[in-house]
């Protein structure tokens, strides 16, 4: 076994040293009745060649020839080759949480850079070292808001990603905190009048998608203002962070907390995970922030360096009084996003965002030419819902051609017959004009 360095001789010598007769004897502290007396019922060992064949077979059973026209929380983006080759450096991916800063400065400086990127993109002051994903980041934001305000009602736009809202509901099941959903209007933006009614002195947070699940750039400034007026914390949620290269930063529009996922940078799709959730806040909230955070300091010789800090918030110190129970986060994905953002840089990010905006317009026009119209009239970035008649039928039909057509909104809103025809589609830098044309023709038939 190539991963097991022990020779028979080593085992003998080591057993002798520890005074055990056999490897079995090492487990004598486990009561015999609790020991497994049979081999595990698993397929027999495979060598690397067989492994490769088996996994190639599995991978080939996923249709990925064309970039999918699906976004809905996971966005098909090009990840430059340099990102992955740097990630593959063993010093990065085989290290763990930088508990020993002197030999973890690589991870730590990269995390500090990640935190800075998150802060810059969100227009907020502080960010943590990553969360599991966007949905759990949003749930943590709600919990933090409840702690900060000492209130127990979370107001959330119905146009926030439905799965995020489900995760929020799961997370709040134990706390008894209340969730109030505010509907969207015909243009796909939050109904501000309904929001105004929903927000009051019991509201801890107001959560709005930016862009929202329908692809619409929601009325974040107005929603944030309403929240603030009621003493609630305005929270923005972003799944498609490329949008932040074109739109104003949520922090600049009044959000005090911005959460979401940086999946669009460096992660690729990976069937939904992993990617790095992000969590950005106003500085004042920092002692209530969940998760790890990296800070700058000096070493004994006065040289700048980085450490994990403010750990008294965390479970390993504070235990049941911690701000969250998170331990392992999504470090490598944060690094991936950091490398990708570093490559793009200021100008590249803006270009990428404008290109995505442009491609979505090509998609809209191509589908328009095929007689298919957008479902919502609000402003969009690179994703929008189209009215296609029977969305599931379109998806099934295009699947046969190897094209992933989009996400039928009825999957999340099965009880709303008006959404039967709504197909949520994205176009990014990966969708060439030719592919977009092909897609539009195929939707049409």
């Amino acid at each position: 076994m190539r991963y097991h360095p022990h020779t028979a001789e080593d085992v003998r010598e080591m057993l002798a040293a520890v005074g055990a007769e056999s490897l079995e004897a090492l487990f004598r502290s486990i009561p015999a009745s609790l020991q497994l007396r049979r081999p595990l019922d698993l397929p027999p060992a495979a060598d690397e060649i067989a492994l490769l064949a088996e996994f190639r077979r599995l991978a080939a059973a996923n249709a990925v020839e064309h970039p999918p026209f699906i976004g809905a929380g996971a966005y098909p983006h090009h990840v430059p080759a340099a990102v992955d080759q740097l990630l593959l450096r063993g010093e990065f991916f085989t290290a763990y949480t930088p508990y020993q800063p002197e030999i973890s400065q690589g991870t730590l400086q990269a995390l500090f850079e990640w935190q800075t990127f998150v802060a810059l993109l969100t227009g907020l002051e502080v960010a943590n070292a990553s969360m599991y994903d966007g949905a759990t980041a949003m749930a943590e934001a709600a919990l933090m808001a409840a702690r900060l305000t000492d209130r127990r009602r979370i107001v959330v736009s119905a146009a926030v990603h439905p799965d995020y809202r489900r995760v929020l509901a799961t997370a709040l099941a134990a706390t008894g905190d209340e969730i109030v959903a505010v509907p969207w209007r015909e243009d796909g933006r939050i109904d501000l009048a309904a929001l105004e009614r929903a927000v009051d002195g019991r509201t801890a947070a107001v959560i709005v998608g930016y862009p929202n699940f329908l692809g619409v750039v929601d009325a974040l400034p107005e929603a944030a203002a309403l929240a603030r007026k009621a003493g609630a914390i305005p929270v923005s949620v972003t799944s498609e962070a490329v949008a932040l290269g074109l739109l104003k930063a949520p922090g600049a529009l009044g959000a005090d907390v911005a959460v979401g996922t940086m999946q669009s940078f460096g992660a690729g799709l990976q069937f939904g995970g992993p990617a790095a959730g992000f969590f950005a806040i106003r500085e004042a909230f920092v002692r209530q922030m969940p998760g790890r955070v990296c800070g700058a300091t000096l070493d004994k010789r006065g040289r700048r360096g980085f450490v994990l800090t403010l750990s008294t918030r965390e479970q390993h110190i504070r235990r049941e009084r911690a701000t969250s129970n998170i331990c392992t986060n999504a470090g490598l994905m944060a690094l991936a996003a950091t490398i990708h953002l570093a490559l793009l840089g200021k100008h590249g990010l803006a270009r990428l965002a404008r290109l995505n905006h442009d491609r979505a317009r090509l998609l809209r026009d191509a589908l328009g030419a095929a007689g298919v119209r957008p479902r919502f009239s609000g402003p969009v970035f690179n994703e929008m819902a189209f009215e296609v008649g029977d969305a599931e039928e379109v998806v099934a039909r295009l699947a046969k051609r190897g094209i992933a057509a989009g996400a039928p909104l009825s999957r999340w809103f099965p009880d709303d017959p008006s959404l039967r025809g709504a197909l949520l589609c994205v176009a990014t830098e990966l969708h060439s004009p030719e592919l977009i044309e092909l897609f539009a023709r195929s939707v049409r038939r």
Partner: protein, 521 residues
């Protein structure tokens, strides 16, 4: 300390080269490294490392995005060429210690070798480029893999079913305790308390609290084990569950686990297993056979998915039959020869719901399944046997120079303390930092909290006897040095690009991001 273990091939008699140029027991010496400013500290410029198609030019965002929402370029972002970026991260990486660099006996974290083949497999386009919402007929390979992994984990742990969704161990704990809560709620009463042994990892009490439970600490006995009497004393009908790590964080098997489980079960409580230490048991014993009702895996520990500088992890949760209805969504179902995801609450009305976006960390599933497939049943058991052998060997070789707080059989890890060094005022932290100069990643320190000055060593099965012997030599040299040159020892580490960092300063005046003109003073 000049090469205490006769590390070859250095010829250290003439080594010289200033402080820290000697050769440590793990081969550490000094060499060329590079300072590297923050990405944001490069002068602004018009550079970019991006290579992108041109937009059509026909669609000006200003035409359809309201001006109050339309931003410009993000101020403060760097502007670098691809080569600048490559050098930046190449330099940064060189400041890190990883498993690929050297021994990494970080207790409780199971820093075993991360197979390179898994990295290649996870990058197959069919996995890397699959959208999570692909129609089922377009992602049968991904679903099949998830299903097979789920079945294998259930078999390995001895449970009925496993959810793959949770993103890490602590997330698995959260999910597990949510299911426990849902189970009790379904029986009419969520209950109020969760018992947590004093040896528990911080995530356990934090998880309990997060689920609205009050935690009740249960003291372990002088043998480092939890005793049924202590549990019984704390047990009542308000207790929803106990959270037990087995072997516990001292590396000691909870011999009384079956009896403890019975104590819980008697009063309607459930037993949660923190599976972080499963590497001691694979193929040897199954938590499901010991009375556990729920348990999370840490695929990034037991199943060798890379730790990635702090994640991503993956924390699947296995449950006994009665808890199956409460499993979170989605669930992979096999129907005939095809697989599909069950995502709708309607199909699983008792489910606790979603715990994260999409279906889990597929990237980790691919790697974990590759590990399970390559090792096979015998190989997996062998992992645990060798992991325990390695820890036992280190224990034996160091017990005369470091204090062993619990002199009883331990399994895959062993906990020492700095008690014998107290006289010379040398602490666990000093020992840890000195190990860096030898070329080893320090063990986990000051955990578990029940042990004063804990030094928790988990070698894993990946390490050879030679490596262990070098580590032992390093530790012994440090013990010796503590007696003869405590001051010198406290000046460590000398070799890395940074000396000891001032953590107090970092917390007192937090600088958590770059800003123009940022100063750290």
């Amino acid at each position: 300390m000049a090469n205490p273990t006769g590390w070859k091939p250095s010829v250290e008699r003439q080594a010289g080269g200033g402080e820290g140029s000697d050769v440590g027991a793990g081969g550490a010496t000094r060499g060329l490294a590079f300072e590297e400013p923050l990405l944001f500290e490069h002068p602004p410029s018009t550079r970019s490392g991006a290579s992108l198609p041109e937009p059509s030019g026909r669609h000006d965002p200003a035409r359809d995005i309201p001006p109050e929402l339309l931003g410009g370029e993000v101020e403060g972002m760097p502007a670098l060429s691809e080569l600048d970026v490559v050098r930046h991260f190449t330099h940064l990486s060189a400041w890190n210690h990883g498993i690929d660099t050297g021994f990494y006996p970080l207790g409780s974290c199971t820093m075993k070798y991360n197979p390179k083949s898994s990295e290649a497999l996870a990058r197959l386009p069919g996995f890397a480029m699959a959208h999570p919402l692909l129609p089922a007929e377009m992602c049968q390979g991904a679903l099949e893999l998830m299903w097979r992994l789920e079945r294998a984990l259930s078999e390995i742990s001895g449970f009925a079913a496993t959810t793959l969704a949770p993103a890490a161990g602590a997330h698995g704990e959260l999910t597990g305790v949510m299911m426990i809560r849902a189970f009790h709620v379904a029986r009419g009463n969520a209950r109020k308390k969760i018992l947590v042994p004093d040896t528990a990892h911080g995530t356990n009490p934090a998880t309990a609290a997060r689920n609205g439970y009050q935690t009740v600490e249960v003291k372990s006995g002088p043998d480092g084990r939890l005793h049924p009497e202590a549990v019984r004393a704390a047990m009542d009908e308000d207790v929803a569950a106990i959270m037990i790590t087995n072997p516990n964080t001292l590396g000691i098997f909870e011999t009384h686990i079956a009896e403890i489980a019975a104590v819980l079960h008697e009063k309607g409580g459930l037993v949660y297993g923190d599976g972080a230490n499963l590497n001691a048991l694979v193929g040897v014993a199954r938590p499901g056979d010991m009375g556990f009702d729920v348990m999370q895996f840490n695929l990034h520990k037991t199943f060798a998915t890379p730790h990635g500088g702090g994640g991503p992890g993956s924390g699947p949760v296995a449950v006994k039959e009665p808890l199956v209805p409460f499993l979170p969504l989605p669930v992979v179902a096999k129907e005939g020869a095809a697989w599909r995801l069950v995502s709708e609450p309607r199909e699983r009305p008792q489910s606790i719901g979603r715990v994260r976006e999409f279906h889990g960390n597929m990237g980790m599933f691919v790697r974990a399944w590759a590990f399970i497939r390559e090792l096979g049943p015998d190989g997996l058991r062998r992992c645990s046997e060798l992991a325990v052998l390695n820890a036992s060997y280190v224990r034996e070789k160091l017990r005369d120079v470091f204090h062993l707080p619990y002199d009883t059989d331990s399994l895959h890890e062993v906990v020492f303390t700095d008690k014998l060094q107290a006289a010379s005022d040398v602490t666990t932290m000093d020992v840890a930092k000195r190990l860096i100069d030898h070329g080893f990643h320090p063990p986990t320190v000051y955990f578990p909290l029940v042990v004063h000055g804990a030094i928790m060593i988990e070698p894993t099965e990946s390490e050879s006897k030679e490596t262990l012997d070098r580590f032992v030599a390093g530790m012994r040299a440090i013990a010796e040095e503590a007696r003869t040159d405590a001051e010198g020892l406290k000046a460590s580490p000398r070799k890395p690009v940074r000396a000891r960092l001032d953590e107090v300063r970092a917390a007192r005046k937090p600088v958590l991001r770059w800003k123009p003109g940022m100063k750290v003073e």
